[in-house]
């Protein structure tokens, strides 16, 4: 892949002179003046990522004010988990996120293991890492389709979703489930890899690499993509820390923060990987960073397949799960999802039930504070592209 180039829009500052004055950081507008229109984008809209909606105030075709509304997807996972035993919580956690359920499974299982003092076998760690990276590739493929679709290139979405299906086939072979895998149980993983799995992974990797070359030619080097995404949703580096921005969005603004490298978990410290960053900070830079990360994840899968021990235990011994009491304590486990830092904060009180489990998703700030700030002064046709470039996922907001 070509080196990520600097955008000419790096120091882009929106011209606010013709728009309403800002008061306490918010624009003042009078809807009765007939200069402004209020419209809703979502929750049923092809340009919205999942079940959320944007309340937009527009002047002509330019967005003056944006408010994110959620609540269409609330299933009260955190409340449900307070009333269930630890093992009963396990099938719930993966349902928090559809494109990438495995990060939830890992964080929950690792948290329970840490509080209960269980060490998992070496091979289970490798299989978990493999599973996490595979889910990253599947999620990135879905995202490429979304980003292309938001610019009117629906065909690329069809290519990537088809390719994601091949990855889901691998998940099905591995765990029995295509979307929700319920594979990383506390204590290890549920089953060993099937025979010949490595060969089939290699075959899918080869197909994916071929597809990514096509996508690079037709989507990343496309004049429409560049003209629409360059300069859109510029995030300056100082905003990254202030707004809690993480993941590829932070790395595209020049902040080298990747949980896999900063605080290695599982076997990431034994893998060779490079921090992919860009100093541009616009939506196009985020696209390039995510695309490069897809390739990185594929490289990591190849490394894992090569280095993984072929034999060994995959589960540690755990107590009777129906009467499993975990000593009082608290922990925060985090992992790198495709959107950034994803974490579980778990408090136990010595009983059979968790006192509180909180799920921290990157979209919580990306889709509300950050999106509301960036959407101001852009064209209404770019809101979908901006939203997808932040890779927002509503289930992380309303767990």
């Amino acid at each position: 892949m070509k080196e990520i180039s600097k955008s000419k829009y790096k120091n882009y500052v929106a011209d606010r002179s013709k728009y309403p004055l800002l008061k306490d950081g918010k624009p003042e507008f009078d809807l009765n003046s007939h200069m402004f229109t209020k419209i809703w984008q979502g929750p049923q809209h092809p340009g919205v990522t999942g079940n959320m909606s944007l309340e937009l105030v527009i002047n002509g075709d330019e967005v003056i004010d944006c408010k994110t509304h959620v609540g269409y997807l609330h299933r009260a996972f955190e409340k449900l988990m307070e009333r269930r035993k630890f093992m009963q919580c396990f099938p719930i956690v993966c349902r928090i996120c559809v494109p990438e359920p495995d990060t939830n499974e890992y964080c929950f299982s690792a948290g329970i293991e840490e509080l209960a003092g269980i060490d998992i076998p070496e091979k289970a760690k490798w299989i978990r890492t493999l599973n996490l990276e595979m889910s990253r590739v599947a999620s990135f493929l879905m995202w490429i389709g979304g980003q292309a679709g938001s610019l009117g290139m629906g065909i690329i979405g069809q290519w990537t979703v088809t390719m994601r299906d091949f990855w889901l086939d691998l998940f099905e072979e591995m765990s029995g489930g295509r979307i929700y895998h319920m594979y990383m149980i506390p204590g290890g993983v549920r089953k060993d890899l099937p025979e010949g799995f490595e060969l089939r992974v290699k075959k899918v990797i080869k197909q994916t690499r071929e597809l990514l070359v096509d996508i690079e030619k037709s989507f990343l080097n496309n004049a429409i993509t560049k003209s629409r995404l360059q300069g859109l949703g510029f995030i300056p580096p100082e905003m990254v820390e202030e707004y809690g921005i993480v993941g590829p969005t932070a790395r595209a603004s020049g902040k080298p923060f990747d949980v896999r490298q900063n605080n290695p978990y599982l076997v990431y410290d034994q893998l060779v990987m490079k921090m992919i960053t860009s100093d541009v900070g616009d939506a196009y830079a985020r696209t390039l960073v995510r695309f490069a990360e897809t390739i990185l994840s594929i490289d990591l899968i190849e490394q894992i397949m090569h280095k993984m021990p072929k034999t060994g235990k995959i589960q540690a011994k755990i107590p009777n799960v129906l009467n499993w009491k975990i000593p009082a304590g608290q922990t925060y486990i985090k992992a790198e999802s495709t959107r950034g830092e994803h974490g579980f904060y778990i408090i136990t009180d010595g009983s059979k039930y968790p006192r509180r489990i909180f799920v921290r998703g990157a979209s919580y700030t990306h889709a509300i504070s950050v999106l509301e700030k960036l959407a101001v002064n852009i064209s209404i046709s770019d809101t979908a592209a901006l939203m997808v470039s932040l890779h927002t996922c509503p289930p992380e907001i309303e767990r």
Binding site: V70, G71, F257, N262, Y332, K334, Y345, I347, I368
Partner: protein
């Protein structure tokens, strides 16, 4: 990290200190000193990234715990700063001036736990629960079963079975009569 905690101890009272992992520490501080500590930690000790803020209900002690999870990019360490507040006077100082995105956590906690943050932006706006008029649902004394029985009703014409009885009478009897696990040829 130990140096930093010692420096902090000289300035404020730390009620509890736990080292969970090499990259994860928890401290408990006094409610009145929260703003001071968070500002000091952010500006002078480089804990600039706020991962999240959340509340935990300790109904038995009649207290709420608020936790601010911070992260330092240079130290690569997470630090959970906990504060206990009284459950009957559930009011906390808003910290939205320290991190601009903190207001949304405070809005969620107000809705889910009923803890008020005066002067926090948009704190009274509905977040997830539109026009909710019951007790804040994440409090531990909120009776979910009672709420669902009062709010929803069974669709008529549906037959419900007690799962245990149903399993014992129907499934096990069938199994005893024809004890086949699968259709073997």
């Amino acid at each position: 990290m130990e140096d930093f905690l010692n420096r902090l101890k000289q300035k404020v009272e730390i009620r509890e200190q736990i080292k969970q992992r090499d990259d994860l520490y928890f401290i408990t501080i006094k409610k009145e000193q929260t703003e001071l500590v968070l500002r000091y930690i952010k500006d002078n000790e480089k804990f600039k990234h706020l991962s999240f803020m959340q509340a935990v209900d300790y109904l038995d002690d009649s207290k709420f715990m608020l936790i601010y999870m911070l992260y330092s990019f240079s130290r690569k360490v997470s630090l959970g700063v906990s504060v206990f507040i009284d459950r009957k006077e559930a009011i906390m100082t808003s910290m939205h001036n320290i991190w601009p995105h903190l207001w949304q956590y405070q809005r969620e906690i107000k809705e889910m736990y009923g803890i008020d943050f005066p002067s926090s932006p948009r704190v009274n706006e509905d977040f997830i629960l539109e026009s909710w008029d019951n007790m804040p649902p994440m409090r531990r004394d909120f009776d979910t079963l009672k709420y669902s029985e009062e709010t929803y009703y069974q669709r008529p014409g549906r037959k419900t079975n007690d799962p245990k009885e149903y399993m014992r009478k129907k499934l096990y009897n069938d199994f005893v009569k024809t004890p086949k696990l699968r259709d073997d040829k």
